[in-house]
Symmetry: C2
Subunit: 433 residues, 2 copies
């Protein structure tokens, strides 16, 4: 968007959670913000850029609230395996070899896939985070980044990692015109001893940042937590003080009623990762119960090695489908709720104000789908089609922070050809090392 | 394919179920058949058409073994509803109005979507089947067609419908260069009284054709069957003689061990429709147990009104994912098995010999995916990527019976622009009628 003002004319816009969730009309973008959306045509001054919105469906950019982007380098490197074998034989030996450059190219591959597929914001918990921030800055994507720390190591190494996490969080928070924010992230209660975990809570207080961790992904890890500490993970994290900070937990597959009540009470968000949870056979999270209790449930892809793509439309559809099938209730997670989980609830759960909705005053993070295709016909209900029929490949245009980053399916900010080549070379290099 | 012989050079080919499931090399097509596939370059005579297979992944065309294609006209017309309300308030009142022309355009919309998405064979059970056959003939797709008959009507109407089903099956079997075959299809045990159902069994014997029906899709229908006839549906259909014919049942969600054993004994195939079963909250079929018992399990989309797209990659992925998540076994329905379900097992279950596999002597029904995209990188395992990362939109080229029907994503046999317009008009017309 070269001019300061752009008006989309004759568009259809998804505004879930409002009285008119599919709105036909106009949307004005000025600099990084949406300044108008409505049925009435705004005054269009000379020099204003206009975009013909017919044949397109506009919706908020998708928000991916849990992932490890560099793991796209291991996409398809190990499938259909028992979790512990997959980790010990496949993932960990390769990840141990990851250098900053590897993380850079793996992240670039993922960010390219995400932007082209309509994801405008992603959360990343990994290592070599300066390189992840670098890709985020270059690509124009919105990013919530954190060094994820595994604490199963000697105390000096623990402290070194903690210092790294703190330095990263401090250095990058608010950078890239505010597109990058940071959080504090011990990897999981089962990989961080209590005393060490509590240092992260203290750091989050010191820096006034929110926290993120993996929690209750597998039944085994819940049982181990109870055996080790006499508490299930939610009570354990409550005791360690995590929930005194604004918090988001990833997975939350194995939760009892009491735990759901505690999460709701502390306003702890849950990043639901249906694709990864199914593929790794972790189970099916109690999403209808979480939503009913008032918990903010958002959607994440997790790493591409356990998904195996970063298509947030697929996560949205899985969320809308599996909870119906498993609960036996066809009204569970209806389409508008699934869309909110992938957009507005996503932004809320990673503490981004003014993101995730098409409304005046909100950040201009939005995408346009090409709906002049067989699987979007007939035009019965555009919101239903976006949830139940669409895929990442239907995204034609993407804007983040008011800037167009994908146009007619081509990424404007990253060199796709180079990234594809480098990602392949990097994987082949890892195999040889 | 204008010449009689075509050779694909430097391709990658998926041949699941063999010692080398991802083969790099060459494939020769002569007329409607594959005549060679292997690593060794064949002699290429002058005048032979060659296709550069680099950047493409070749695999058998997908086989959709259960659907009602004209229902794409009702895509998104009713979602997130209780099954009976959805049927009674939304589907049935509209379907009652369907004319032959409506079915023609709805089917054309679906066949267009399927061909572009890599489905080369589909099964259709519906009404106005002559018009479905017409679209199938024109489009070049392979089709297994049948008039699905609901018998909840006076005897003269029943007999009229039966006669229609028989006439259609007789007239169209083997037509369109053999691309169209037919089956005999009472709609379901709960919509066809036993005496009426048995007339279809007799007709199938008379015509020497296989049979298809809906079975055990919902728990309620199983309970009703037991209440009405003192038998669960499998024993009921066994008693009515259906399994004396080669048979395929759709759904088979609610089966006990004994029923699985009966299906295996009679070699009855099951068309698994994961997307539809989840969306309508019917439940999760016992696919790992069915496969273990030796039942041929294939994949179907069901109608687009309960799916809501006809993307067989999505069904394949759902089959590979949900049974892991629900069973807790990450090795359940591994990628090669999911791919076989969508291809070779599909062809077997609708009684098509010589379809569903890339091998000499098999029909040249195959597709090519564009794998030079971020979500197919790195090139670790092409079979895994096809199952866990791909979507219908990744299909670049499609051949059926040796003829190319989709090229660079464009359908060569159908007028896409006209179909899109007519499908929309048809839906709007139905609303007004």
């Amino acid at each position: 968007m070269s001019s300061n003002k752009t008006v989309i004319v004759n568009g259809r816009f998804l505004v879930p959670g409002t009285a008119q969730p599919v709105l036909s009309g106009y949307m004005t973008i000025e600099k990084d913000l949406i300044t108008y959306i409505g049925e009435v045509k705004p005054v269009i001054e000379e020099g204003t850029q206009t975009i013909d919105g017919s044949r397109l469906l506009f919706m908020p950019g998708l928000v991916n609230t849990h992932g490890h982007t560099a793991m796209s380098l291991l996409r398809g490197y190990g499938d259909d395996m028992v979790l512990q074998n997959w980790l010990q034989e496949k993932m960990w030996p390769m990840e141990e070899k990851f250098t900053g450059d590897d993380v850079y190219w793996g992240t670039a591959l993922s960010v390219l896939e995400m932007l082209k597929g309509g994801t405008t914001t992603f959360l990343d918990m990994y290592d070599h985070m300066d390189r992840v921030a670098e890709v985020s800055e270059q690509s124009g994507i919105r990013a919530v980044l954190m060094r994820g720390v595994i604490g199963l190591c000697p105390e000096d190494v623990q402290n070194h990692k903690l210092a790294e996490a703190v330095a990263f969080a401090r250095n990058w928070h608010g950078k890239a015109d505010g597109r990058i924010t940071t959080m504090i992230s011990p990897h999981a209660p089962y990989t961080c001893p209590p005393e060490f975990f509590m240092k992260f809570v203290q750091a989050a207080h010191d820096l006034d940042l929110p926290m993120h961790t993996h929690m209750s992904e597998t039944r085994r890890e819940v049982e181990q937590n109870a055996a080790d500490y006499g508490l299930r993970p939610v009570a354990h994290l409550e005791k360690l003080g995590m929930f005194t900070r604004p918090s988001l937990v990833a997975h939350g597959v194995h939760l009892n009623d009491e735990e759901i009540e505690i999460l709701a009470r502390y306003h702890v968000g849950v990043s639901h990762n249906p694709g990864s949870n199914l593929k790794l056979a972790s189970g099916v999270a109690r999403v209808p119960e979480l939503l009913r209790a008032g918990v903010t449930v958002s959607l994440g892809t997790d790493g591409a090695a356990s998904n195996n793509n970063l298509d947030m439309f697929e996560e949205m559809r899985l969320a809308a489908l599996i909870h119906k099938g498993v609960s036996g209730d066809p009204t569970a997670v209806p389409a508008p709720e699934a869309l909110l989980m992938a957009t507005e609830y996503g932004a809320q759960s990673i503490f981004l104000e003014g993101v995730g909705r098409l409304a005046p005053g909100m950040k201009a993070d939005f995408i346009a789908l090409d709906i002049d295709q067989p699987h979007f016909l007939p035009h019965t209900d555009h919101l239903s089609h976006a949830v139940y029929s669409a895929s990442a490949k239907d995204v034609a245009h993407v804007w983040v922070d008011g800037k167009q980053v994908v146009k007619h399916g081509q990424c404007l900010t990253l060199d796709e050809e180079q990234i594809r080549r480098k990602a392949q070379e990097t994987f082949e290099g890892l195999l040889k090392r």
